[in-house]
């Protein structure tokens, strides 16, 4: 089953470089879905809030990597 493990890791590697970074994105998406769906915010602001958070995670992750 070594080939299967290699294939799975190869496919996973296409989407995940830094596990913390990928996990943060998924957590943010889940938070946005759970919190914004029922929040009293104007509907057209909800999408941009998702985008702002994603960009913030990107900037934080890149600068964290630069500090190492």
């Amino acid at each position: 089953m070594c080939w299967l493990r290699t294939a799975v890791l190869g496919i996973l590697g296409l989407f995940v470089d830094d596990a913390t970074f990928a996990a943060s994105i998924l957590v943010w998406v889940m938070l946005v879905v759970l919190l914004l769906r029922h929040a009293h915010i104007r509907a057209e602001f909800k999408g941009p809030i998702l985008g702002i958070g994603l960009a913030a995670i990107l900037v934080e992750s890149a600068t964290r990597r630069a500090r190492k």
């Binding site: 190869g10 296409l14 989407f15 995940v16 470089d17 830094d18 970074f21 990928a22 994105i25 998924l26 998406v29 946005v32 879905v33 914004l36 769906r37 509907a43 057209e44 602001f45 909800k46 999408g47 941009p48 998702l50 985008g51 702002i52 994603l54 960009a55 913030a56 995670i57 990107l58 900037v59 992750s61 890149a62 600068t63 990597r65 630069a66 500090r67």
Partner: protein, 256 residues
Amino acid sequence: MEPSQVTWAHAGPPIVAAFLASLVEFVEALTVILAVGSVRGWRDALSGAGVALAVLVAIIAGLGTALRRIPLGYVQLGVGILLLLFGVRWLRKAILRSAGVIPFHDEAAIFAKETDAMQRLGGSGRWDRVAFGTTFQIMMLEGIEVVFIVIAVGASGSGLLVPASLGALAALLAVILLGIVVHRPLAKVPENTLKFIVGALLSAFGSFWVGEGVGLDWPGADWSLLGLIVWFLLMAQFAVSLCRMQSARRAVDVGD
């Protein structure tokens, strides 16, 4: 009205409506395909898009109007998350390269290595699953949207499915022509700049589809994609500046 009785007066509006709506979707797909093709190579980028088109045609032939029952939201969310993870990963690497945190690709060395490997194998070259997978995903997603457009427009009257399909097909041909015209100028753009742009594009598309998939609204609907692309590019530039500062500070600390 029987399908055989459809005249140009009846067929015109669905053709135009399907053409314009499909054009928007195909241009979105073309943007990503061109960007991926320029960075990763045309063979696998075009193969991914071509296979996606073939799969779509097979699905349409197999399912027909039953396609209307597929929950589009789940497709958008699933593909959106994959595009998003892939896009931000790519953009993060481009930021770190621009800031000098990780080295640039030595393309000449990679090319020599690949050519040597290909010559030894005697084959036609390695399969680039990144290029194939990305263009396959975007073409499938936009293609499914076009299928929904055709079904929606075609369902507005008896015998209008064929004119709506012709409108979508004309849009596809127009976009292919557009791609042929603009792909050469793109080849002159520096590699990391292109990677920056591809990363921003994929991140924007991914964010948009995730939002659509979970039912979030975007101001201006599909037009907000342009805003998202600009937003990710600006934030990536900002991140490059911050990373350069961090690297410089670290270098001073190590020197001390």
